[in-house]
Subunit: 328 residues, 2 copies
């Protein structure tokens, strides 16, 4: 959280599109670099009602990560977490397949209370981020429900049933995002995307199918992206044909798509440039758009900072090139 | 929990009317003596919606006490409790004046989920008690909302605001039980009270004004008590003019009622006998109904068992006397 810088100097705004863990790492790097100039638009296709509570897994991952509360070892949820609620719930015969830590639960209870009282998911998220001292704006992609459905060989599965309940085992045939066409982007999301000073839009290395596509499925957001003049870049979530975490490569195989950077570039065909890992340097020539080769693996905080800087520099480079083309 | 006895032998059924901590102690003693022959009808006037969850403090105290889960030191809530939810909620700006432990929270979340899905409070309570291995039937006084309002010198206060929020400090002018006249007793409560084999109805040493009167305010229950032929006895919650715990004596003073056993007898004017503590032996002569003098202080488990046995013996004695009177 670079709040001092954010307060003292505002640079050109940057938007990041982000899912859960992998994406949040880059969002943290960006926030440390540009603070309040960053807006993170987060996938809510994984949101679901559980135990009567509104759970927003990706928003929480981003909020916990940028708020310095995330568990870096486990990869999800809060650090210094306890599980006494879950244990007691099991003893009462409640559902325990989706694990909610005692501290994490506060977020779901408080958010559910807020939503029932008429506060929007955006308002709640913005207020919570502010309270946790996060300089960046964290925005749900929509305040309307969009539900990621995983159409598998075993039938249509709600996201969490596929992802947590069945540990991504079923073979994916396609993804559907219920209500995405009708869901409205919020005024905050549209304002961020339509900001004429925008320096870049960065698609974080989240799962393209499960985490980024739901955002792109919101028609308001897709249209806004079509009209953006700032460079749109993506960071490939693949390194050597594998995701650092999660089922990206498995899903690509199941969809009959080669698990390589060229496929990511084709998937995001509207972007202006792709960042790929050094491991995949040889693939650069097969990609029909500007490519930046760097290390995309984010182990340390320094890795996050460096990749964030690479993203901004690459976008700036693409913008300069576009201006030169316009000028000639 | 005397489940073996309960399974092998059924004696005459007994009903206890009960509020929170003090009442639950006697209910435990009764359950240890007669197991499944005991039905505890519990005050729900303290129930309230908090953080979007349905909290039933007295039911939970009885369930935790009879289920062997209660914290004997603190006097409320669960043993081996942690408070990480509460801490995290405070950091998010949530309400923390009413403390919910991490394990306790499982009950509120699961109950709220059940109620929203159309399961009644009675069904949920009965199922939970069964799951926790409790032989006795624990029944909410009603499945309809009855709300205890404390009319104080500072205005009308919902029960928890008065009891927990303001620590019983405001001067009580009177009590109101919203909706009690319209609230229906459940078929289970009425069946227990109308059981022709009933051996006794025991009013536990709970606060008469805050914990027992809401039960008596349900008109179905009051009518059923009028028709009961089994002896109705009460255990005075006062010892030497003071309650073991809670504001009984303070409220009596504020209402202009002497804090003695005779006042308790007048308050419960429909009962057939009153059990008072040895300390108050001198008051026995001033009480216009049969009185049993014994030790009503329940420190140890043995104390609970002994007082429970005294209650049953006293009721049996009163029933025999009534039969003799009928025969002559």
């Amino acid at each position: 959280m670079n709040m001092q810088r954010a307060a003292s100097f505002r640079g050109p705004p940057v938007v990041a599109l982000c899912g859960g863990v992998g994406g949040a790492k880059l969002a943290l790097g960006l926030e440390r670099l540009i603070g309040a100039d960053l807006t993170v638009i987060v996938n809510t296709g994984d949101d679901f009602e559980h135990l009567g509570l509104h759970v927003s897994p990706d928003i929480d991952t981003v909020v916990y990560t940028l708020g310095g509360l995330s568990d870096l070892e486990r990869g999800w949820g809060r650090a210094d977490e306890s599980w006494n609620f879950m244990e007691a719930l099991g003893a009462l015969g409640g559902e325990t397949w989706f694990r909610l830590g005692d501290r994490d639960l506060a977020m779901h209870v408080e958010r559910s209370r807020a939503l029932r009282s008429g506060i929007s998911l955006t308002e709640f998220t913005v207020a919570t981020a502010r309270r946790l001292g996060i300089a960046a704006s964290i925005l749900p992609m929509s305040d309307d429900r969009v539900e990621t459905m995983v159409i598998t060989a075993e039938g249509a599965l709600p996201f969490q049933r596929y992802f947590v309940g069945l540990q991504c085992a079923p073979v994916v045939k396609r993804l559907e995002f219920s209500n995405a066409e009708r869901a409205a982007a919020t005024s905050q999301v549209l304002a961020a995307l339509r900001n004429p000073d925008l320096a870049a839009i960065i698609i974080c290395p989240s799962n393209p199918y499960l985490s980024v596509d739901p955002i792109l499925a919101v028609s308001d957001i897709r249209r806004a992206l079509d009209e953006v003049t700032a460079p749109i870049i993506a960071v490939s979530p693949l390194i050597g044909g594998q995701a650092v975490k999660g089922p990206t490569a498995k899903i690509m195989a199941e969809l009959g798509v080669p698990a390589d950077s060229a496929s990511i570039a084709r998937h995001y065909r509207f972007i202006d440039g792709l960042i790929i890992d050094e491991t995949d340097r040889a693939e650069a020539g097969k990609i029909d758009m500007p490519v930046r080769v760097t290390s995309t693996l984010m182990r340390s905080l320094g890795d996050r900072d460096r990749l964030a800087a690479d993203c901004l520099e690459f976008a700036s480079h693409l913008a300069a090139g576009a201006q030169r083309r316009t000028a000639t």
